[in-house]
């Protein structure tokens, strides 16, 4: 009994630690736009606010299961064990980057860790993830697929087509709809029929006769419980599930879109910048999944305050090392661009 309690305690602290690692990484990406202007190019999208959903979901994963998110993709490989320095070097466009500087922030891939890659075109990766589930089914690998996408993506044809096919083929996949409440700059209540009718987005599952459930995406344990159930269903060959994990994106959709060399740092969150609704933003910031989970673990006696501090410190050290590594890494040689066009 004591051994089991100890195990659970370690697992809960592990969840907290991964959440903190993601947050610290994303904060460093965001800071880079100020501290090292123009080092990050194009468009970067952060997962701050999504940590409980990401870690809670992946907590239920077995080591060979596959993970396929959208272009908002930094958080997942962090949990899978991808070295942060390689990730940061990729985001900085360096030779030592995870994808040798070819893909950048939106296109991380780490196939050895069952992270086959991401798409920058909203919703399309839902089909790719569904294909990974076909692969697992045909090869009898016992793998399942964790497919993450945003609320905006659930309005794409690829979403409807893929979920129907996954249902008719009983594919081993979990569709995790991260409802972070903003489709880029548009509040989800302005563009989703279920939301407009005051219903949860998980209602869409009924159209495909698969289980659909909405869960508090700021609580990693609640997420793990719901995703765990869907994982058991997928592993048992009973087919897909749709889980709406509802939380709040804490940063703007992405850095400012403009023409270089104008500054491109992150603007204020859309709630404030577009809708003038600071109250909404503050309300959700008070429900920051990391602060909430930290307080809960300390209150329950699962984690000592000192342990929380050392987790934070070691995450900061790890991220600082990643930033140093990425800044020191050389840019790729120009002619490298001719590689990898074909296999």
């Amino acid at each position: 009994m004591a051994a089991k309690r100890r195990w659970e305690k370690d697992r809960l602290v592990w969840i907290y630690q991964q959440m903190v690692r993601i947050r610290e990484f994303e904060e460093a990406v965001k800071r880079t736009f100020i501290e090292h202007p123009q080092v990050i190019r194009g468009h970067a999208h952060l997962g701050d606010g999504a940590e409980a959903t990401i870690v809670g979901s992946l907590f239920t994963r077995k080591p060979s299961d596959m993970v396929m998110p959208s272009y908002r993709c930094h958080g997942y490989p962090i949990v899978l064990g991808t070295p942060l320095k390689q990730m940061m070097a990729e985001i900085y466009g360096r030779k030592d980057g995870l994808c040798r500087g070819f893909g950048g922030s939106m296109h991380l891939a780490d196939p050895e860790r069952h992270f086959p890659g991401t798409s920058g075109i909203i919703g399309q990766s839902i089909a790719h993830a569904t294909g990974a589930a076909v692969s697992a089914q045909i090869k009898h690998t016992d793998q399942i697929v964790y497919c993450f996408f945003g609320d905006g993506a659930s309005k794409q044809g690829a979403f409807y087509e893929s979920l129907n096919m996954a249902a008719i083929w009983k594919l081993p996949i979990i569709y995790i709809l991260e409802n972070n409440q903003y489709q880029a700059y548009t509040h989800f209540s302005l563009e989703d029929a279920n939301a407009m009718a005051g219903e949860p987005l998980s209602k869409k599952a009924a159209a495909f006769s698969m289980p659909g459930r909405t869960v508090d995406g700021t609580d990693p344990v609640a997420v793990a419980e719901a995703v765990g159930k869907a994982a058991r269903r997928a592993r048992a060959g009973k087919g897909p599930s749709l889980i709406e994990s509802k939380f709040y994106r804490l940063s703007a959709h992405g850095n400012v879109i403009t023409v270089p060399p104008l500054p491109t740092q992150f603007p204020e969150h859309e709630a404030i910048a577009v809708y003038g609704n600071r109250a909404e933003f503050e309300e959700w910031r008070a429900k920051d999944p990391i602060g909430q989970f930290r307080a809960r673990l300390i209150e329950q006696g699962t984690m000592a305050e000192g342990d929380a501090e050392s987790i934070l410190q070691s995450a900061r050290d790890e991220v600082a090392e990643a930033v140093r590594f990425a800044l020191d890494s050389p840019l790729p040689a120009p002619e490298e661009a001719l590689n990898y066009v074909y296999a």
Partner: protein, 325 residues
Amino acid sequence: MREMMYGDAIAAAIIEEMQRDESVIFYGQNMAMTDRDPMLKRFGRSRVRIAPISETAETGIAIGAALTGLRPIVELWMSEFMLVAFDQIINEAPRFRYMSGGRVKVPVVFKAGYGFAAGWAGQHSNCLYHSMMGVPGLKVVVPSTPADAKGLLAASIRDDNPVVYLHSYMLTLERGEVPDGEFLIPLGAADVKRTGNDVTIVAIGWMVKKALAAAEQLKEEGISAEVIDPRTLAPLDVNTIVSSVSKTGRLVLVDQAPRHSSAAAVIAAEVSEHGFEYLRAPVRMVTALDTPVPYSTPLENYVLPNEGKIVQAVRSILANQAVAA
């Protein structure tokens, strides 16, 4: 005349055409989100709408609305997002008039930015006009200056055919003189952006700016370059280009697209058929290399055309040097 930014000139054309014609509607993702939106204030929620991320429906709905009397402008933001709805754009919109034996028309504008060469990597930096310019029934517009952006968009909105209007993201903040009020540039008329005698440079979109800069640099070397902007790739004004080549005898084509999916390749073919007798040297194409667009700066620079590569191509064509493919 008023100095305006390219992006603002585009907005001005939309506003003026919506004021002029009530059948013009305008919708897309991430626009008209609050009642403070100026377009919404001016034209109301009936004509200015917000769309979810649903390109197939956004473009298909525009076709249905156009078939039944409206003139939709669909804001698609990035040309790659059109690919999600390519059936609608390639195999639906341009087919209806022909298949109906001329009985119906599809006056719709699919508007998007293209070629964001600023580290947007493989899926957001492309030039896709080549795959659309050869589709009979579809018009393709690529403006390079604020004035052209306004005049060509107004003409696109009034055109009774489906028009793909592609504005360069890289030119968004470029300033230039723009005529006030009604200003229309006919689709299918190239523009000579700079006159010269030694070489014709035909450039598209953002590349017009690079070609003009290259021409300025070449002038210092005593080389007089004529720079032509086709402005619309469909219809393509071959005559203006051939006529320039008849004067200069040399042609350099500058296109941000990869070599084999460039408009440059089509123009080269037209000139080889219609202007062969004028050519004193082989045609040179300065295009992107045949790779996707990479993320990192040195990789992106290596792949894309630039001023230096244009200057080099002109020098080599004047020296009549052969080049390896």
